[in-house]
Homo-oligomer: 272 residues x 2
DNA sequence: AGGTGATCGATTGTCAACAATCTTTCATCT
DNA sequence: AGATGAAAGATTGTTGACAATCGATCACCT
């Protein structure tokens, strides 16, 4: 049926017309779907725990199941989806332990990022940081919570990008998705989100200052504040997945498949 | 064909099963191929930079291209393969910068791992560490270089497992592959590998001691030694790329997430 | 000769159908 | 009734064929 419609779809959905001489990204359906799906998940179009069925998503994206499966596989590796063979794939439902881990390793990674860039901080770095801080403040003033989440992630993410450390950046990106996912859920549940308007003033100030130790302490404290707030919220939920076995190397489990599947009620809304 | 095999890989997690009622064997061709391919790559069956063609591998594994593609996609995400759409997929060829990044972040992650487990070190931890250290020493004495590499990775990996931090562990695993890949190449090129027999004595001693600061310095020094040795090797070979002529270490990333990393990195330098 | 454009082979991307497996439902038995 | 087991429906896993793209080769034009 749709063999000949590929070109039209490809040209229509892409927004890369103004590149001066930038390498045109070789387009693949898979790449587009990864972006679209990730965006849909992070935007909260599908609640944590809700199932994703390949056939539906494939038709919604207008492609066949092949490319869609590969895209899903990538999001699984990113930690945004969890899957059980022959059974189903769901949006990840973060446990208290997960969020705790994210915050704890964030402290470590972000300090490492600053170690990398500390002697190389220049005007460009300063401007980038300040600009993103201002953007964040404006979003908070406008009480646009979704934008505030993105702006805060942009602010922190800028440090990772500026560090010029590819492995570090990739690690951050794999964490960022889940962090954003959690913040979105937190926001939906609590109505209002938490970042105070001056929550990042000290962060930016010490980041541009001359005392690394001050920055280290600020980051530690910053994360501790976010972490405790986070855990309080998660603890208030009754969900509480299975306690991991008391040993290291606890395999991650999406909880009992029956519970997860039956709990999944809201089917996927339109994704586009 | 036979479907009832073993080994299952849940998304993101490892194929570990613990309790007596562990989730069993749901088999997937993809899971088997991922393991087999990874093993082949790490074992050095295919040189860094050599191409992987889907049709050949598919017939070689006795499956169709679908599952094989998904398996390759996972190894791409792990950083063991690099791909260019419509063009080809190759075993990653690490650059000096890559190895430098690996070593630098290893210092950070391993110290973090010890921070996590430091107050919880018990007899089991001590035994595990000592046992792996002995295994490593034996491999070195036997002059079995391949086994030495695995043993050394087992020793360090044990710390990450014992930390009980899933994100940390996954990050380590994503690094471990490339590290092993590099060590194998190093070994093939130099004939003999480098770890002195007593190279880890101080490491294990401080890891089981009472002074965290000593351990921190030992790890930093340990990695610095490995790193400098590494860079000397890579620098010596920088003028002589491998057999495949038009090769890649310049722009080795796919149109997926890795592209974003490199793109962001370039952006931080260029104007905007 | 040097550059230019078409052609061919090889490889990856995509599709639609088929097979295996899981979950649920419902009839059956104790 | 409660448990047990078989059939049905739904979803994922797998396959082989087809289409799009890339790189190299070679004829052709200036």
């Amino acid at each position: 049926m749709g063999r000949g419609m590929k070109e039209a779809r490809l040209g229509g959905g892409d927004t890369r017309s103004v590149s001066q001489f930038a390498r045109v990204p070789k387009s693949t359906f898979r790449a587009h779907i990864v972006d679209g799906l990730r965006q849909a998940i992070l935007r909260g179009d599908m609640e944590p725990g809700s199932p994703l069925i390949e056939a539906n998503l494939a038709s919604q994206f207008g492609v066949s199941r092949g490319p869609l499966r590969e895209a899903m596989r990538q999001l699984i590796d990113e930690g945004l989806l969890v899957t059980v063979p022959y059974t189903g794939t769901h949006v990840v439902d973060l446990s208290v332990e997960d969020v705790r881990e994210i915050y704890s390793i964030r402290v470590n990674l972000e300090i490492f990022a600053f170690e990398q860039i500390w002697p190389r901080r220049d005007a460009q770095f300063r401007d980038g940081l300040v600009r993103r801080h201002e953007a964040l403040t404006q979003c908070i003033d406008a009480q646009d919570d979704a934008a505030s989440i993105s702006a805060e992630l942009e602010l922190h993410g800028f440090v990772y990008e500026a560090a010029g450390h590819r492995i570090l950046l990739k690690t951050w990106e794999s964490i960022r998705g889940r962090l954003q996912l959690y913040w979105a859920a937190h926001h939906r549940a609590h109505g209002i989100r938490g970042p105070r308007r001056d929550g990042h003033d000290d962060y930016v100030r010490t980041a541009l200052g001359d005392n690394f130790e001050d920055l280290r302490q600020e980051i530690t404290g910053h994360m501790a504040r976010g972490g405790s707030q986070t855990e309080a919220f998660l603890a208030s939920r009754v969900q509480e997945p299975i306690a991991p076995p008391s040993l290291p190397s606890a395999a991650n489990d999406a909880g009992t498949t029956a519970a997860a599947a039956s709990r999944a009620r809201e089917l996927s809304k339109s994704v586009e």
